[in-house]
């Protein structure tokens, strides 16, 4: 008996499946890398803003300190027990608290501290009270 050589061509659609899988993987990888770098950029911008805000507050505190040293009356400054205290806002959750004292003509900085004031959590639940 003659041997019949049968030729089986590759199944139609197999290459499509492979290409679809490859394209999906590439797309997901590209989107993830773009998302990661956008987050990095956002973090860098937030960090820059935070540093800029701190130095702005520090400069403002220096200005008030200089005015106090020159004998000016500054509204923000509170005098208690020979110590001048004042606060400069850095952001919504941080303030720069300063305390300085004049000891026999020599000015001493007792405190130049960044204090965090975390936002209070809103635990109220608006519930209908039954009135119109």
């Amino acid at each position: 008996m003659k041997k019949q050589n049968t030729y089986h061509s590759p199944a139609i659609g197999s290459s499509s499946l492979l290409v679809i899988f490859g394209v999906l993987c590439l797309t997901v990888l590209a989107m993830l890398s773009l998302r990661t770098t956008l987050t990095e950029k956002q973090m860098a911008q937030v960090s820059a803003q935070s540093v800029s805000a701190w130095y702005q507050a520090d400069l403002e505190a220096q200005k008030i300190y200089t005015r106090v040293q020159n004998g000016e009356t500054v509204p923000e400054v509170v005098l208690a027990e020979d110590t001048y205290r004042y606060c400069v806002s850095i952001s919504q959750t941080q303030t720069l608290e300063v305390a300085v004292k004049n000891e026999d003509g020599h000015w001493v900085v007792l405190r130049w501290q960044t204090v965090a004031h975390p936002e209070e959590p809103n635990d109220t639940l608006p519930v209908w009270q039954g009135t119109a």
Partner: protein, 116 residues
Amino acid sequence: MKNKTSLLLMELLIMLLVFALSVAICLQVFAKAREISASAADLDSAVILAQNAAEVLKATSGDIEAAQALVESPYRLVLTELPTSAPGLQQMRIQVYLEDKNLFSLDTGWQEAEKL
């Protein structure tokens, strides 16, 4: 059989085109992501440089040369003295440049040395 082969070849050709198109688009996305990452790294470096310069100026009461010594290529530091709003206070604007682009700037101040 002949029809099946030609159909297969046609499918392969179309899939090859689709794959090439998607690779071209994804490569552009990767390039854009790399560009954004580089700019974020530049901004971080600029912030650190400016902070270091500000602290050196405050510690040395305005030694500009000491602040400039901190700069690493390709960044450039521009220090501009600002008019003082109160006697006894010195103010300076620190700007970090990369080529001609201002990456970051901050204002700082310190007490004059005689007052300390």
